[in-house]
Symmetry: C2
Subunit: 234 residues, 2 copies
Amino acid sequence: MNKFLFFGTKVNETEVLIEGDDHRHCTTVLRNSVGAQILCTDGQGHKIVGTLDSIHKKHSILRINEIEKHLLPAHQLHIAIAPTKNISRIETFLEKVVEIGIQEISFIYTKNCERKSIKLDRLKKIARSAMKQSWKYHEPVLNELQSYQDFMSRDFSASANFMLHFDNVATHLVSADFKEKNLFLIGPEGDFTPQEIELSKEKGFQTMKLGEAVLRTETAGIVACTVFRMGLIS
Amino acid sequence: MNKFLFFGTKVNETEVLIEGDDHRHCTTVLRNSVGAQILCTDGQGHKIVGTLDSIHKKHSILRINEIEKHLLPAHQLHIAIAPTKNISRIETFLEKVVEIGIQEISFIYTKNCERKSIKLDRLKKIARSAMKQSWKYHEPVLNELQSYQDFMSRDFSASANFMLHFDNVATHLVSADFKEKNLFLIGPEGDFTPQEIELSKEKGFQTMKLGEAVLRTETAGIVACTVFRMGLIS
């Protein structure tokens, strides 16, 4: 029972609906039949132990036996990142940061960004798969690609805000003071423009670096997420 | 001139030989001709500025104008990792840790490891490409796949040695004391066996964890490398 975590929708206090790939994986691939014990999550913090109650062509129904509420971590991370030209690099980033622990991801279109569209549904599938793989009960929020200007027009007063940027920056992210909510901006392969950096400063962002190494966009995202999560432990 | 770093072999004090993909990339793709200024490295710590002296079918010769010797970092990392069933995951690990900074990688075949062979030449190409991409002048050492028993039969007295392992381990890697030379052991998807863990203890390895998250093998490798590199900065 304990080897797989499935994703389901809690329809009421006693039942969970399992659909799509999760339904097929649970019933066709793993051949679970009515009466089998299943572990699932609704992505809203619930770890649910249930019994397969009925199996249909495109969905199955789970009867809830136990439900456990998991809280979000005390320190939450939102990364806004420019998508890479080669989308598989952003997919690697996404899978890894979900495993390490992240609450929200925004995709931002900056001046030097070479990709103008993303398939959010595909990215959500990858995130959900990484979430189940790493036994997380909260699904991260993924936001549609938007322009840097639009993204920067919001109110950032509720979070600690950092622009991660390589060039001539003295302060390292490992020495940052994090708040309950934290936001990292990560630029494209061609970096942020001076105007974009200026705008982040006007909005009160602190500019920080991730070390002396030249990191690809997706590697910077993974390293930043690791520094954040691990930095809170020591 | 400064956009690409090529890999070349220093044949004497005045000349560098550029072959294979680097030769093709430099002369055919980027259309550099005789007299062009080129940046290259021999992977032995040298950053070389040179002038293209002659272009042949399968190689080109660079005349050295300037040579700069870079030292290895004061703290060096060797990761021994079990290759994943899906080799692309180990390739992701390799690319990312080379970017972040690593000196040696060994591939170990443990009891629960599902892959019995690796293509070392392909992995070396990936490492070299990541090295050039991230402007590193030292090529990491990559060792052939060997059994865990063979790997563990060596003398480990010159390094600080850690087994990274999830189950019920209290001490987190962020609080480790690193030496000049450091070795991390990272297990396969099915984890190390109790016997393998026991053997590491007999050989004086400290068992440590990487946090509370369930990480895939390759993610554990990337996170461990980040914790090591970033931990030395703070």
